[in-house]
């Protein structure tokens, strides 16, 4: 009788130990089923900023990036003048986070005035303000996030994952100058404005849409309007 009770106590202790220590290998299959508990929303909205503007978005790019983090647990040290760096068995943690983002380029018409318009008889030239680029949205592909956590490690925390996502976002922003979105924005602006001016009675051949200059990759950093 005493042996049975002792056995049950040991089993219960092991179960509770695993439960509280949260030692397990999380696979993607575990992420699939919908949560069976009810979520409770108890906190309000933080802040809202409403701003009047006049921006004509002319180019949209959808981009994709995967952030990976390989977090191996290593035993490092120096003993008897000898350095060692040993990978601890079952101490690996890996995560791969796919990020989809949408970038848009626009022309800000809020300061558009008569100075931007030149007329010469039937001909009209519109000098447009510098195009600008912004990231309008980003989405973590949660269904395809992969995590592999070794038995001796804890799961990635939400703060760690958010940090990796923010680094991925920053890397997407850093890559914008190489994408050619400004050139697309300039070309597409004519597709919106020329039909508008034709509707006003101008002949297509008499319309010129111009920009201040041809923008190179070095200019694009100044044209990026990304919120931190």
């Amino acid at each position: 009788m005493k042996k049975t009770a002792g056995f049950l106590i040991v089993v219960a202790a092991i179960f509770l130990g695993f439960y509280f220590c949260d030692w397990h290998l999380q696979s993607d299959d575990e992420a699939e089923p919908a949560p069976a508990y009810q979520a409770v929303d108890s906190l309000p909205m933080l802040i809202m900023q409403v701003q009047k503007c006049s921006k004509l978005y002319t180019a949209e790019y959808r981009v994709h990036k995967i952030v990976t983090h390989d977090d191996a647990l290593r035993l490092k040290g120096s003993l008897l003048q000898k350095e060692f760096n040993i990978k601890v068995p079952m101490g690996d943690r890996k995560v791969a986070i796919p990020i989809d983002a949408k970038l848009k380029a626009y022309i800000d018409f809020s300061k558009f005035s008569e100075e931007n318009v030149e007329r010469d008889g039937d001909k009209i030239t519109i000098l447009l303000p510098d195009p600008q680029v912004t990231m309008t949205s980003s989405k973590i592909d949660q269904k395809n996030v992969r995590q592999y956590v070794g038995l001796t490690r804890s799961n990635f925390s939400d703060e760690e994952l958010s940090n990796y996502q923010q680094q991925g976002r920053a890397a997407i922003i850093d890559g914008i100058p190489k994408m050619g979105i400004i050139e697309s924005a300039q070309a597409n602006a004519t597709k919106v404005l020329v039909p508008m001016l034709v509707e006003m009675g101008y002949k297509e051949e008499n319309i010129t849409i111009a920009f201040r200059k041809t923008y190179g990759p070095q200019d694009i950093q100044k044209l990026l309007k990304i919120e931190d």
Binding site: S42, C53, L56, K65, T68, H69
Partner: protein, 196 residues
């Protein structure tokens, strides 16, 4: 007997001297020694892939930037688990120039009438999820839980931002901006209406 005792004392003393010498040798050898557990913070990024690029004609007249703090609680036997995150998003209200009707511009001398498409939410994807901040976490949460939080933040942002007042403000600003642009183009009398 006496000799045996001296031998024993001698061996004992030698062992003590050896131990002391060994201790000092080991101390000297391990002076700069250390053992530490460490993890690598190496983050790798794949090259950015451009999946699509397209020409658009979205004219934004009101931007609503919001931050929503969203939480989820999981009831437990001993304690409750909780995850709180802060989501950021910008809802852009305006007109899609690809939806203009035929003859949407009518001119007569220095007068012009514009019939713009109705004010709408220009892009249904407005949350910058990669900018999300983790505020509080207790317990273990899966990607599906984060997806559910995203959906909740999305609904809250829509509810708080797509108000009658904001739509009206966007419409009024669209009218004002179009007036200014048309005046810059030389029209003195400008009339702006919206499709129903």
């Amino acid at each position: 007997m006496k000799i045996l005792t001296y031998i024993k004392i001698g061996i004992g003393a030698a062992i003590v001297v050896l131990l002391i010498a060994g201790f000092f040798w080991l101390r000297g050898e391990t002076k700069n020694s250390y053992i530490d557990f460490g993890t690598s913070d190496k983050i790798d990024l794949t090259p950015t892939q451009i999946q699509s690029m397209k020409a658009i004609g979205e004219w934004e007249f009101l931007s609503v930037s919001t931050e929503e703090i969203v939480d989820t609680i999981r009831k437990g036997i001993f304690s409750d688990d909780e995850l709180v995150r802060i989501y950021y998003g910008t809802l852009r209200l305006g007109v899609n120039m690809h939806h203009v009707g035929d003859n949407w511009i009518q001119t007569s001398g220095d007068s012009i009438t514009l019939t713009l498409p109705k004010i709408e939410l220009l892009d249904k994807e407005f949350i910058d999820e990669a900018r999300t901040k983790s505020f509080y976490e207790r317990g273990s949460w899966k990607p599906a839980d984060r997806d559910a939080l995203y959906q909740k933040a999305y609904r809250q942002m829509l509810h708080h931002s797509m108000t009658k007042e904001n739509l009206q403000a966007a419409k009024a600003n669209a009218s004002q901006q179009m007036h200014d642009i048309m005046r810059a183009l030389g029209y003195q009398h400008v009339s702006v209406t919206f499709q129903q």
